[in-house]
Amino acid sequence: MSRQLQPEPPPLPLRLSPATLAAVFLGGGLGTVSRFLLDTAHPDPGGHFPTTTLIINLSGSLAIGLLAPLMARLTSRLALLRPFLVVGVLGGWTTYSTLAVDGDLLFKGSHIGIGVGYLAATVFGGIALVLLGETLSRRTDRST
């Protein structure tokens, strides 16, 4: 992969203190209800490309790319920001279960091309946006 980027420590395992779990709960609730509200305002109709869920998941990949390098250097006083934002908000905002069910329903309805395109856009788009987010995050960080 890109040579100018150094490996980051993995986001897990967390130290799961009650405060950490509370941060995950609050962030997860916030992220999940945001996805629910966007989903109900712009529902993905069956048999069509699930644009809303794709935008939700790809924005989450960009955001984790931007945030993870910053979170790795937080002082202990701000240590709860990572479980709140990364594990909670972004984990609740994005979804794998809806990706899998929508993919299956597209295949089941013989929309093979849409299904393959949707899964490929999520997987490869997600990887590209994590890389983009990390690159932007480090560039901003160096210039400040």
Binding site: M1, V24, V33, F36, P45, N57, G91, T95
Partner: protein, 135 residues
């Protein structure tokens, strides 16, 4: 999500709060499970995330099937499906871990994680839908 009966007009505050609580509980369950699996393993493959996403996809498959074939209501599907399963499963961590397996030169793990994770979740969801269709 592709809305089989998820409440599609403006949700009430009460429903939104229940979805938020379900999502928070799902996220906590995910953090605990990934932590427990990670503690027991030294392998670079993030098995915990794969287990979370496949099991959450199976449960959402069951719920979607119940909504399609057995009249599960839109509010129940929103709370248990969009809330609990959506808060429990994650795409952001999955894409991040794929990138970091590649970057750390764990190429075969990256392939197994990315595409094995996708296939096990698709299979889990299909099993859930299939089980409810057969009942």
């Amino acid at each position: 999500m592709t809305t089989f009966g998820v409440a599609s007009h403006s949700p009430t505050l009460g429903l939104a709060l229940l979805v938020a609580v379900a999502g928070g509980l799902g996220a906590m369950a995910r953090a605990l499970l990934i932590h427990e699996v990670g503690r027991r393993r030294s392998d670079p493959l993030p098995l915990g995330t794969m287990v979370v996403n496949a099991s959450g996809s199976f449960v959402l498959g069951l719920l979607t099937g119940c909504s399609m074939y057995h009249g599960l209501g839109p509010h129940e599907l929103s709370i248990a499906g969009v809330g609990l399963c959506g808060g429990y499963t994650t795409w952001s961590t999955a894409s991040w871990e794929s990138v970091h397996l590649l970057r750390d030169q764990h190429r075969s793990e990256a392939l197994v994680y990315t595409f094995g994770g996708l296939l096990t979740s698709l299979a889990g969801a299909a099993l859930g839908i299939g089980l409810t269709a057969a009942l």
